[in-house]
């Protein structure tokens, strides 16, 4: 098993190097040159020569690549040209919002998707099946931004004044303030990675409310999460529903399922204990693949719902040509995506002994 995990990890190394190279190339292939991009109209030959020397841009490209690589390893992603702050600071502040959003979207997609796929497979070729698959087909086809704006309109305007009304933007109602976990737990003197971790969790407001047992913050933050999470999770939900249905149908037609039925097992036992286990395998891969879609979908969702996460920051960085941020965020999201798929591969080995043996 350990050998299997190591092999999978080694296979990911060239891809990770490739990603670093691509993001490096993004930084060097900018329209104009980095100096003009950074300094704008202040750029002239003298200023640029100093700028290039300061940032090592006068050195040969391979040296520049190694320098860039070294900086990344040390966790230095450069400074935002627009905010004048280290990108890592922005990351700790804003990544939690995106992670929280993606988490709820993924929970929604998985729970609803598996449920729809399950009833669709068990009621194969009935009205329920057709209806669910219609929902699934529509779900994959409606763009995130159309769905998000439609939700905002329905729940903030159409249902205004009813208990079903939901806030269309922001993370908390006005008047509510979040106390950071470090402050609440008197850990302000804490430094280094543990502090980063606490601040990270602290910036996920629902978790913050939960950990401090503050019900008002928790429920308010959760209410603000519903619309963006459902909008973001709909495409993955539809994909998961389709895969659950088709892989469950495959398994239900196999001999061993018939044997299970023939020996008199109840339908519930046949489906959940026997069929679902094998049907889960393709599902795990598909759920892992959805994470990439969630991360890029977050760019659109956060823009619509006014959430200051990585996605919205990325959007602002694009429009204001803040290249270091674009570069750094592309790197972090792509690396995160590869690592999650690595995790999926490894979990495959746990779930299916055949994978371990054959590789």
């Amino acid at each position: 098993m350990i050998g299997f995990i190591v092999r999978r990890f080694l296979l990911a190394v060239p891809v990770l190097l490739g990603i670093v190279f691509v993001t490096f190339a993004i930084g060097r292939l900018l329209p104009g040159n980095p100096c003009e991009a950074a300094l704008g109209e202040h750029a002239n030959a003298n200023v640029c020569a100093a700028f290039n020397q300061r940032h090592g841009l006068d050195k040969p490209i391979p040296v520049q690549f190694l320098t860039y690589f070294g900086e990344i390893i040390r966790g230095d992603l450069g400074s935002s040209l627009r905010f004048g702050r280290p990108v890592t600071d922005l990351m700790v502040e804003r990544l939690p919002v995106t992670v929280e959003l993606a988490l709820y979207a993924l929970v929604f997609a998985t729970v609803v998707g598996i449920f729809l796929g399950l009833i669709s497979a068990l009621r194969h070729n009935t009205g329920i099946d057709v209806g669910t698959m219609l929902i699934a087909n529509l779900g994959v086809s409606i763009p995130v931004f159309v769905l998000g704006l439609t939700f905002a309109w329905i729940f903030a305007i159409g249902l205004k004044g009813t208990p079903l009304a939901l806030p269309p933007s922001g993370r908390l109602s006005s008047g509510l303030n979040v106390i950071s976990l470090a402050q609440a737990w008197h850990l302000e003197s804490l430094q280094g990675p543990p502090r980063v971790l606490i601040d990270f969790v602290s910036n996920m407001y629902t978790f913050n409310g939960l950990l401090r047992l503050d019900g008002r913050i928790f429920f308010d933050a959760l209410r603000h999460m519903i619309l963006p999470a459902v909008a973001l999770g709909t495409i993955p939900m539809a994909i998961i529903a389709r895969i659950t249905r088709s892989s469950l149908l495959d398994v239900l037609g196999l001999d061993y399922t018939r044997t299970a039925r023939a020996k008199g097992l109840g339908e519930r036992l046949v489906v959940f204990r026997h069929a679902m286990r094998n049907a889960m395998l393709p599902l795990v891969t598909v759920i892992g693949l959805q994470v990439g879609g969630l991360l890029s979908g977050a760019i659109l969702t956060e823009t619509i719902f006014n959430l200051t996460g990585v996605g919205r920051t990325f959007f602002v960085a694009i429009t204001s040509r803040d290249y270091t941020v674009v570069q750094a965020f592309t790197l972090v999201i792509a690396v995160g995506y590869v690592l999650i798929n690595l995790l999926v591969d490894v979990s495959y080995g746990f779930l299916d002994p055949r994978v371990r043996v054959s590789s």
Binding site: I19, T23, I26, I142, P143, F145, I157, G293, V326, T330
Partner: protein
């Protein structure tokens, strides 16, 4: 059973059909494919006939004839006062007729879908064929680059590429095309590898057939089915991604009547002018739905294993 009865039975057998006719018959029996074909047929008709059916020019502001920005939809048969000019989908922020823009948008979206996927298929076939044929380091090199491209979420990579090339519809098309290359390269490569070791291909090579001939006569027909299926589904993805790029301002530039751009321009007006989101949103979703349904149907119809 008498000999006469046997002959009678064999006469009742349906005549043998060719592969294409078979696939077509399967396709027309497939519910989702028929719905998809219907939607796309409608869409093509709208795109081709746009100048005829659109009541106004898509980029012409109606301010000079008294039109006001953000005018709500007015349909006479639904009770809108006859004194007001009819605008089925209202007017947009520049007082342009929204329905005409939605109608002309069909042209841009279909153009986007076919050009990006065409571009990706051509390059994908070349890379996949070279990788599959030569094997060794060329194969390794090409496929690792494809792996890296696949390692990025497609929209994110497209955004990064457009940031480099500069915003605009053409650059957006290139960016989305690049993100799709690996899909087709993988299909063709695996097809090349499975075909090139077959005896009749070895024999053909021994007779002096060029790699190009083997590619066009033996490999491509073999990978045509997955290419068509992936291509159809790829168009759906391309239309979605292009709309998303335009939505954030990196794709089609004003005054182009592109659905994603129209939604992006109107997103802050969702509470005051929701029709500016609704009409292009429905058009966009229908287009993607059409290609998705057709792609799914094609996969079922073209798969001989599912032939019953």
């Amino acid at each position: 059973m008498t000999a006469q009865a046997l002959t009678a039975r064999s006469i009742e057998l349906p005549p043998a059909r060719g592969i294409v006719a078979d696939a077509l018959a399967n396709l027309l029996r497939n519910r989702s494919a028929v719905v998809g074909l219907f939607i796309l047929g409608f869409l093509f008709a709208v795109a081709v006939l746009a100048p005829v059916i659109a009541p106004f020019d898509p980029v012409d502001s109606l301010i000079r004839v008294g039109g006001k920005p953000y005018t709500a939809p007015c349909i006479h048969v639904l009770g809108c006062a006859a004194s007001q000019p009819e605008h089925i989908a209202g007017l947009d922020q520049n007082a342009r007729d929204e329905i005409s823009r939605v109608i002309f948008g069909a042209r841009i979206s279909l153009f986007i879908g076919f050009t990006t996927v065409g571009f990706a298929i051509v390059l994908g076939v070349i890379f996949g064929a070279v990788a599959g044929y030569s094997g060794g380091w060329a194969d390794n090199g090409i496929m690792r680059v494809m792996d890296v491209l696949l390692a990025f979420p497609s929209l994110l990579l497209a955004i990064a590429i457009v940031t480099l090339l500069g915003p605009g519809l053409n650059n957006a098309l290139i960016a989305i095309g690049v993100t799709q290359i690996p899909i087709y390269a993988r299909v063709v490569r695996s097809s090349v590898i499975s075909v090139k070791e077959l005896d009749f291909v070895t024999a053909e090579r021994a007779l002096g057939a060029s790699p190009l001939r083997i590619l066009s006569r033996r490999v491509l027909p073999n990978s045509l089915t997955p290419l068509i299926v992936q291509g159809t589904l790829g168009i759906a993805t391309a239309v979605l991604d292009a709309a998303a790029l335009s939505f954030i301002g990196l794709g089609a530039q004003p005054p182009a009547a592109e659905w994603g751009r129209m939604i992006g321009d109107a997103k802050d007006q969702i509470f005051t002018a929701p029709w500016l989101i609704f009409f292009p949103g429905v058009a966009l979703s229908l287009t993607v739905l059409g290609f998705n349904l057709l792609g799914d149907g094609l996969r079922d119809a073209l798969d001989p294993r599912l032939n019953r």
